[in-house]
């Protein structure tokens, strides 16, 4: 008796499928084999893990209240300024990187700037900027601005490349100047999505601001790093909960504003 079998969609050839599975398991064995674990250390650490979960459930907001407050405050101010400056700078870079409205040399320059910014981790950029500009929020601000330009510039360029050409031609045929064409034909087409993406980037910048503090670039990361290093898991839990709440609030707010814009 033949029974029906669900067809395979992705790799219809059976031999290829078997080969892929074998390759996958081989990698898994070799990969897992190369993990060196000190089980003694893990066993000792489990008690700390339990304390962390306990600390996360009973966060202590008071012991490091002053540090937490100033850290969150610094993170937020850093996030606002870097997002705004990043957006302002990403507009020329994004326009320059759109193939349909800019000349070739400018296009290549902006594209490569964006590519470099996107492939560099924020933390690595922060290490260098801290070395150049000294510890503190200013280095963090520059890091986040730089990352924002790469992120929004690329998306803005893609958005401009996909616009409806007719509107641009219609406006151009009235004899509008370059600035007028950008303002009246292109801006309204890309604005709704850009506003949404800007809020999304605000969200990312806040999350990243918690990380770059670890390498000395200001913000809540420094507080978090100290409390984890001192095994004060209840304070660390408090910081993590604040981060989660602020990210959730940002998400809620951006959803609301996007609805209001469209």
């Amino acid at each position: 008796m033949r029974t029906w079998q669900r067809p395979h969609y992705l790799v219809p050839d059976k031999r290829w499928r078997i080969a892929l599975w074998i390759a996958f398991f081989l990698y898994l064995i070799v990969g897992i084999g190369s993990i060196e674990v000190n089980w003694q250390r893990v066993y000792e650490g489990l008690e700390r893990g339990g304390r962390f979960i306990e600390g996360f459930l009973n966060p202590n907001f008071t012991r490091r209240a002053a540090d937490i407050y100033s850290g969150i405050y610094e993170s937020l101010t850093m996030t606002v300024t870097s997002t705004v400056v990043g957006i302002l700078l990403s507009i020329p870079f994004g326009m320059g990187a759109a193939r349909n409205i800019s000349p070739k040399p400018i296009y290549l320059f902006c594209r490569s700037f964006i590519a470099v910014s996107r492939s560099m981790q924020e933390v690595i950029v922060a290490i260098f900027l801290v070395a150049l500009f000294g510890f503190g929020a200013f280095a963090g601000f520059l890091t986040l601005t730089y990352a924002t330009i790469g992120f929004l510039g690329k998306l803005l360029a893609e958005e401009i490349e996909e616009i409806d050409k007719k509107q641009l031609e219609a406006i151009a045929s009235t004899g509008a100047s370059w600035l007028q064409r950008m303002h009246i034909a292109i801006w309204p087409q890309v604005m709704p999505r850009m506003i949404g993406l800007s809020f999304y980037r605000f969200d990312i910048n806040f999350r990243e601001s918690a990380v770059i503090g670890i390498v000395g670039a200001g913000g809540i990361g420094a507080t978090l790093n100290t409390s984890i290093d001192r095994y004060e898991y209840d304070s660390a839990g408090a910081v993590l909960i604040l981060i989660i709440l602020i990210v959730l609030a940002c998400e809620y707010l951006s959803g609301w504003i996007r609805k209001w814009v469209s």
Partner: protein, 269 residues
Amino acid sequence: MGELEQKLVWESHTRRKAWTVWGFWFSIVLLTVFCWLEMTEDTIWFFVYDAPVQAADLIDRMFPPEWLYINKLYKALWDTLNIATLGTLLGVILAFPVAFLAARNTTPSTKFVRPIALFIIASSRSINSLIWALLLVTILGPGILAGIIAIGLRSIGFVAKLLYESIEEINSTSVEAIESTGASRFQTIAYAIIPQILPAFLSITIFRWDINIRESTILGLVGAGGIGLFLSSSLNVLAWPQVTLIILVILATVVVSEYISARVRSLLI
């Protein structure tokens, strides 16, 4: 005549809307200026003005890169690759059930289970893998296991969010068709839902793998293994030519993984 001329000028908004828009922009400017003043309060401007000189000095020390150092990096690169790949696998395995619990059309209860699943997604998304690694290194000790778990925990939110959105968008006709044969809940998922979301699922996984390669290169800074460990030790002894080489290696890895991910995803869609 003057009045007529005024009316003929075209405006893209009504008066009221124009004021609202203006108010919106004005409050953003105010907020930015305020934040800028607060943020730069403790900035030592001398360091900022001095930065170009420092930059020139740094670049001078960074070049040429110490090419021979690469022989020490192969093992670290392999570790980085493992952290990213095994971490992605761990994240995907954990994210799969979470996505089904979070999607409106497959969750067992919208009132109780769905909010919990959404909270798991939100917390995993809010906390960067470097922070998870920082925590796990104090718990499990330094090494790539902490890195793998950190990457896994961070991936849950990303994968589950995209996956549950694609589960919510599936075509419900085939689900109803399978259900009408008397299939159980798991059979419905296996025969009606999974075939529909499989391409999206694989493409999300590859996409996350690419991001994870990028993130796993820096986890070593907090002791969680991989090439970041070498970056951190070279930085500590100010061996700038080694730092340059490591950063070049990281950039190359990122570019290659992005290329692979783009190729595989274009094959899937």
